[in-house]
Symmetry: C2
Subunit: 101 residues, 2 copies
């Protein structure tokens, strides 16, 4: 065998992609939404008040927080939301060493 180069790397990558595509988008999104709700509630705000601060409508806040929503928000949307309650966003990339069955 040659040393691990692009071809093998790509296969591994695609394996990850394939297995986790739907799962990831759901879980990542799910976690974020839970955090959004928690942040807002900790600040003691309603969706409507949140909407007022962010100069939008409560329905949009609801959609953003909604777990069943399968939209993938923009980074700036999350940043704005966080800023509205006095937080900032930190994006961390963690190695994905999970065992695949």
């Amino acid at each position: 065998m040659t040393r691990p180069t692009f071809k093998s790397f790509k296969e591994e990558a695609l394996k990850r992609e394939g297995v986790k595509k739907s799962y990831d988008k759901l879980s990542a999104g799910y976690e974020v939404r839970k955090q959004l709700i928690a942040l807002r509630q900790k600040a003691g705000l309603t969706q409507e008040q949140m909407a007022e601060i962010l100069q939008t409508n409560k329905s949009n806040i609801s959609r953003l927080e909604s777990v069943s929503s399968n939209i993938s928000p923009k980074l700036s949307t999350l940043t704005d939301y966080a800023a509205a309650v006095g937080y900032k966003l930190k994006i961390v990339f963690v190695p994905d060493n999970e065992v695949r069955i």
Copy 2:
């Protein structure tokens, strides 16, 4: 004074928003892009190889990584990118206790 309620909270929030709007979008985006590039390079991949894994084109990868780009990527875009190099995304909300002049 009454206890701190929505009105005062909103004023503070808007202050944060106003001061940091442009700054935040730049800095947050800037940091992320630097991380993206670092991740890809650590994996020893070119933009073109990255594009192949993600089944897109190298120009799109370049745009995503480009610091001068003022787009705000979708969460799923970052997640996919990270997954391609064996990482997952963790989004942390940190209190923004910075001193404002």
